[in-house]
């Protein structure tokens, strides 16, 4: 009889703890994605700075690359910078609204919150990769 009670108690504890564990692992995944995006953050900023430098010295660039269409180049660089800023802002906005201590009496609410946040940061991570690749590729033509 005692054994049965133990088994039932263990089963209850296991089942009761299950959703919390899931919430923690989803939160952990979210944090890992955050660190991954932050690892690319400096690159997003560095490319913005490179573009700003180029925009401020287009006449010098023109002297080095005579075939360059200055106005077209300016427009392309501004668009590129704007895309990088959109990516950066999306990360900043996510960080400022993210609640790392979110809690609720209802386990499903906790899981739902972190799942939502994980999906948001996953999208931002992809956006970062895309913008970095795009700007890196574009900026290679200005390398000496």
């Amino acid at each position: 009889m005692k054994n049965i009670i133990y088994v039932i108690a263990l089963a209850i504890v296991t089942v009761a703890c299950q959703p919390k564990e899931n919430a923690l692992s989803i939160k952990d995944e979210t944090m890992k994605l955050h660190d991954l995006v932050m690892a690319n953050h400096s690159k997003i900023i560095a490319n913005q700075m490179k573009i700003d430098t180029l925009l401020g010295s287009l006449s010098k660039v023109k002297a080095q690359i005579p075939l360059l269409d200055t106005l077209a180049e300016k427009a392309a660089l501004i668009k590129l910078r704007s895309d990088l800023v959109v990516a950066e802002d999306s990360m900043n906005n996510w960080m400022h609204q993210f609640n790392a201590d979110f809690n609720s009496q209802l386990d499903w609410e906790v899981i739902h919150y972190y799942k939502q946040e994980r999906d948001k940061i996953a999208k931002i991570s992809e956006l970062y990769k895309k913008e970095i690749k795009q700007s890196d590729t574009y900026l290679t033509k200005f390398k000496n």
């Binding site: 944090m31 660190d35 690319n40 400096s42 690159k43 560095a46 913005q48 700003d52 960080m95 993210f98």
Partner: protein
């Protein structure tokens, strides 16, 4: 016999003193010059360049404010949920140890310059328990902060390239001597590294 033992002890003490541990210089620069047709190598120390930033009280802070002090520098942002809180919890232990010691300072630079304005950092500092500017939280323009990170404090991290482009968010604590030379870099999230930083600070304070 006794004088011989005393002589050996004295020699031992002198010998040990001569081998006093000295911290390395992380950014030595070797440049080559041609003098009278011969190539001559010149070794210099890279130092932290002049800067003008604002602290948590919106007061201007320059490199001069770190004169006659060793200091620990880092890069962070107030809304960081992972690395920065651990790094600053560890740095707080060091701050507590040296609280009130004018020879030791702390400089945390925000990399989220759009959001972490001085008033935000004031709240952050208060929450951490920092009442004065011995630990200063620095704000500047994007270009100022990232240039300082990339070209001065964290050059070694970028050279190591463990996490391409992510050097500003790796939790490094940088130890700078009184001559503004970088003497050590430590992972602020690892207890052993933080302990090493603390013992290295003691060494650096004794350095003349």
């Amino acid at each position: 016999m006794k004088p011989l033992i005393i002589a050996i002890i004295i020699l031992f003490i002198i010998g040990c003193d001569g081998k006093k541990e000295k911290l390395p210089y992380l950014q030595m620069e070797v440049t080559q010059h041609v003098v009278n047709g011969k190539i001559v190598e010149d070794t210099t120390f890279r130092t932290i360049p002049k800067f003008t930033l604002y602290n948590q009280d919106s007061t201007i802070v320059t490199l001069k404010d770190f004169d006659n002090a060793i200091y620990v520098a880092d890069f962070f942002f107030t809304s960081c949920p992972t690395i920065c809180p651990i790094m600053h919890r560890n740095l707080l232990k060091i701050y507590k140890k040296y609280e009130g010691n004018s020879e030791v300072k702390f400089a945390s630079h925000t990399i989220d310059v759009k959001y972490d304005v001085p008033s935000k950092m004031k709240k952050y500092a208060k929450k951490l328990g920092i009442k004065d500017t011995q630990w200063t939280f620095l704000w500047g323009t994007r270009d100022e902060i990232y240039t300082l990170a990339e070209r001065s404090y964290l050059v070694f991290a970028e050279e190591n390239d463990k996490a391409p482009g992510g050097f500003a968010h790796q939790g490094y604590l940088i130890l700078v001597d009184k001559q503004k030379r970088i003497r050590g870099a430590y992972d602020g999230t690892v207890d052993k590294e933080v302990e090493k930083l603390m013992s290295d600070m003691e060494l650096l304070l004794k350095e003349k």
